[in-house]
């Protein structure tokens, strides 16, 4: 009798504990999923559209119906699309895109910015990776917060996965979870799953707006060979080589290399945007120790400071493709590299394609950003509400 009562008591306690944990975790998951990031666009942003304006593949108001920030100078020139947030576990993409959107002035041509290319993937972290849900930057007006996510769209928006992902239209076999990875889904599929539809809608934007070139911003683990580099479609090899040589010679302490977009690996933006539109496609990578499997304690500090003694140890054994020392790869340096590369790409492309020239102002320099990112994110409490957008 006593044993039975004891067992029932244990079961009751276990049940109450499980319900409590479910309630707490459920609340936190919901908070993550519904959190709205604030983007205070610069005074020169001319229009903000939604991705659903370009294609019915994305339903208005649905999770991946991201904002498209448009900066139209009204002066004839080229058109450039900047993509951030393809992989929300690579925070520099949305941070750099956001920073540019908050400071940009275009005096010739047009610039389109998407800060959250696969928003669904930013609403959940990757199971097994123990990621934080958010990351924060302290500014003199308060804390600016972003969602931290994963490479793949949330299972809530795209489940189940197939047993194998067969890329459309190439037919290449890829890992099943990559059907939720937008940077394996280009050029997209109108009636596919959410990441395929999102890629398709962005392709429609590229085709309908006559985009001349695109840049997709990423980060990579230091163990990965495609590191601190610009990957270019063959239409942009000349531009990419000059951009990377100039930045290496004049700006960066750690060189940025240039790589040809491989034709054998499908679904990547640098390959299939270029193949399926008139646009020239580029992709950039910067080192992020948080992504290395050999990393130590996983927390926001590692994410922001990029310091990890396990990764340094791997470097001592010659196992890394990027240098790392006790200074790590701080977020300022990573964002500064992507912003400086974007600026240099626009400058170089304009020089080499005068008929598609774009002129921009207002973007802080590499050295300014190295010092601090904080001054370049605008205080939403002191601007006109018409400049505030949420994504």
């Amino acid at each position: 009798m006593n044993k039975k009562m004891n067992l029932n008591t244990v079961k009751a306690i276990a049940l109450v504990t499980v319900v409590f944990c479910m309630a707490v975790a459920g609340y936190l998951f919901r908070e993550h999923r519904t959190f709205k990031e604030t983007v205070v666009v610069s005074d020169y942003c001319t229009e903000v559209k939604k991705l659903s304006d370009y294609s019915t593949a994305i339903k208005p108001g649905s999770v991946n119906d991201c904002n498209v920030y448009i900066y139209d100078s009204g002066v004839e020139g080229g058109t450039f699309l900047l993509l951030g947030g393809s992989h929300p576990e690579e925070p520099v993409g949305p941070m750099a895109a956001d920073l540019i959107a908050e400071n940009l002035k275009v005096t010739q041509g047009r610039v389109f910015i998407i800060t959250r290319a696969n928003k669904s993937a930013s609403t959940i972290t990757r199971v097994g990776e123990a990621y934080p849900r958010f990351f924060n930057l302290d500014t003199n007006w308060g804390t600016k917060t972003w969602r931290f996510g994963q490479r793949h769209a949330a299972e809530l928006d795209s489940w189940p996965d197939p047993e194998v992902y067969i890329h459309y239209p190439s037919g290449q076999n890829l890992a099943n979870v990559d059907i939720r990875n937008i940077n394996r889904n280009w050029p997209g599929k109108e009636d596919g799953l959410i990441s395929e539809r999102t890629a398709f809608a962005i392709m429609e934007l590229i085709r309908n707006e006559g985009v001349d070139y695109t840049l997709d911003m990423h980060e990579a683990e230091l163990e990965y060979s495609v590191e601190n580099t610009m990957v270019a479609h063959e239409k942009g090899h000349d531009v990419a080589s000059i951009v990377t040589m100039t930045l290496t010679a004049e700006t960066f302490d750690v060189p940025i290399s240039m790589e040809f977009s491989p034709k054998a690996l499908r679904g990547l933006s640098h390959r299939d945007i270029g193949d399926h539109s008139d646009a020239t496609s580029f992709l950039i990578e910067v080192a992020e120790p948080m992504l290395d499997r050999i990393r130590g304690i996983t927390d926001e500090k590692l994410l922001m400071e990029g310091k990890d003694i396990f990764v340094i140890k791997a470097g001592e054994h010659g196992l890394l493709y990027a240098p790392i020392d006790e200074n790590g790869w701080p977020i300022e340096k990573r964002v500064a590299r992507h912003v400086a590369t974007t600026t240099k790409l626009i400058e170089t492309y304009s020089m080499m394609h005068p008929d598609q020239a774009i002129a921009i102002e207002g973007i802080p320099t590499y050295n300014q950003l190295l010092e601090s990112l904080a001054p370049y994110y605008r205080d939403p409490n002191t601007v006109d509400s018409s400049l505030i957008y949420f994504d």
């Binding site: 199971v127 189940p160 304690i297």
Partner: protein, 447 residues
């Protein structure tokens, strides 16, 4: 002495080992033992200095979130187990297996080699198209095991053969989840793996089939053997018996042949449709609720382990212990790495299941790539070695599924594991040799 993150991660790993031993002393089951280890690891993380610099705060609510998040790591795998087992339990209950066993024995009993090769192919197909050894065991393991019994293959060897063929089927192309996940993590296309995987798994499966059935003779009269088999309910025909498997194959292959038009429904739903196929053709009525209860009851240990291993994996990552283990592997001298991988890979599979592919696979691919080795051949070898560990504790997913499906009551270690040792070592040895000669073999195969 300064307390660094190395010390921290070592302490966490040490506490996990101690908690595991302690929980086993108190005779807790594997699921609870792993859960206690995860809780102990987290407590050690919270109270042990984390290194020179202060780390980010870890609020109580976030700790709960990590635990709950970890439980979802193998959610898809658990759903597949449940739906596949429900399908096969139902098929067994309505007499489908009894009927098919009788047909196979009647047709092929006297043609031993053809029969063995046929059974081998039957075992390889489900895992090859789904990438899951457990799916193989749960779908055709019982059927093949029953036929092997008629050939006089000893029980331990039968279970062992079902396991090793299931492991080879999971590694068999076209779908090898370990290779796919590791390749995805390293941004390699999943191409060029077909031939090396087929050669490695084919060699392993052939050796295991003939080694484990050695001495078994088909010298009884076919009619006597058939008479000794359980009777199938009246009303079964060959066409009816294969309808559920046709549904399964059509649903899986349709997605391969017409990927642009075929809806993505996932393995659980595919098994759901196969179950409907069973209900459609079955001449016997059964209580579906009872079948469901049996399924859940049989699988609760397996699913429980998968859920808790997900939690442990999350805590290992959070605390830096996973990084330390991963770092420890990749900084081994290369000769030692070659000599140790045959042990490291199966053992890690036993602990982490598919999560080992990104954990070890990605750093190893990058290491081998950097050293100028052929990453396709090397990854193919690892991707065949990993599933060999699916019989090892704490998870032992496929091993336990084989034992459960074959209703084996003997000792897991002294009976089952001892019997699979030779074929498993054979597979590991072949893979190690191929890994050592990866460059000439890669050139020969053109990958």
């Amino acid at each position: 002495m300064q307390f660094t993150m190395y010390h921290h991660a070592f302490v966490v790993l040490g506490v996990i080992v101690l908690a595991f031993i302690g929980a086993k002393k108190f005779k807790l089951n594997t699921e609870l033992t792993l859960f206690v280890s995860a809780v102990a690891a987290l407590l050690a993380h919270l109270v042990t200095p984390m290194g020179v610099d202060a780390r980010s705060a870890l609020p109580f609510t976030e700790i709960i979130r990590h635990f709950v998040e970890g439980t979802f790591t193998y959610f898809d795998v658990c759903m597949t187990f449940l739906s596949a087992t429900f399908f096969m339990t139902l098929y067994k209950e309505v007499g489908g297996i009894d009927y098919l066993v009788r047909v196979i024995v009647e047709k092929f009993y006297k043609k031993r080699i053809i029969l063995l090769l046929l059974l081998m192919v039957i075992m390889m197909v489900p895992g090859a198209v789904t990438g899951s050894g457990a799916t193989t065991v749960l779908t055709v393991g019982g059927l093949v095991g029953a036929v092997l019994a008629t050939m006089g293959v000893k029980e331990e060897r039968r279970v062992g053969l079902i396991f090793i063929l299931a492991a080879m089927s999971a590694a068999c192309p076209p779908i090898n989840l370990w290779a796919m996940m590791a390749a995805a993590g390293a941004n390699m296309p999943y191409t060029g793996f077909g031939v090396p995987l087929l050669l490695l798994t084919g060699t392993g499966a052939l050796f295991a089939t003939f080694y484990m059935t050695r001495g078994a003779k088909c010298d009884r009269e076919v009619n006597d053997v058939v008479a000794s088999l359980p009777q199938a309910p009246e009303g079964w025909t060959f066409l009816k018996a294969i309808v559920p498997f046709i549904v399964l194959l059509v649903a899986i292959l349709g997605a391969r042949v017409f990927p642009a038009y075929w809806p993505v429904i996932g393995m659980p739903m595919i098994f759901g449709f196969s179950t409907l196929g069973v209900l459609l053709v079955s001449p016997k009525k059964v209580n579906l609720l009872e079948v469901g209860m049996t399924t859940v009851s049989n699988l609760k240990e397996l699913v429980g382990i998968m859920v808790v291993v997900g939690v442990l994996n999350q805590i290992l990552t959070l605390t830096g212990a996973r990084g330390l283990v991963s770092l420890g592997v990749v900084i081994l001298p290369i000769w030692l790495l070659f000599a140790a991988l045959w042990l490291i890979l199966p053992v890690s599979e036993g602990v982490l299941q598919y999560a080992v592919a990104p954990l070890f696979g990605v750093p190893l691919i990058m290491l081998f790539n950097m050293l100028g080795y052929n990453p396709v051949i090397a990854l193919s070898c690892w991707a065949v070695m990993w599933p060999c560990g699916d019989c090892l504790p704490p998870t032992a997913v496929v091993g336990k599924a084989a034992v459960m499906q074959m209703e084996y009551k003997g000792d897991y270690y002294k009976g089952f594991l001892k019997n699979v040792l030779v074929p498993v070592l054979f597979v590991l040895a072949v893979c190690t040799v191929v890994m050592i000669f990866n460059k000439p073999i890669g050139s020969f195969l053109g990958v």
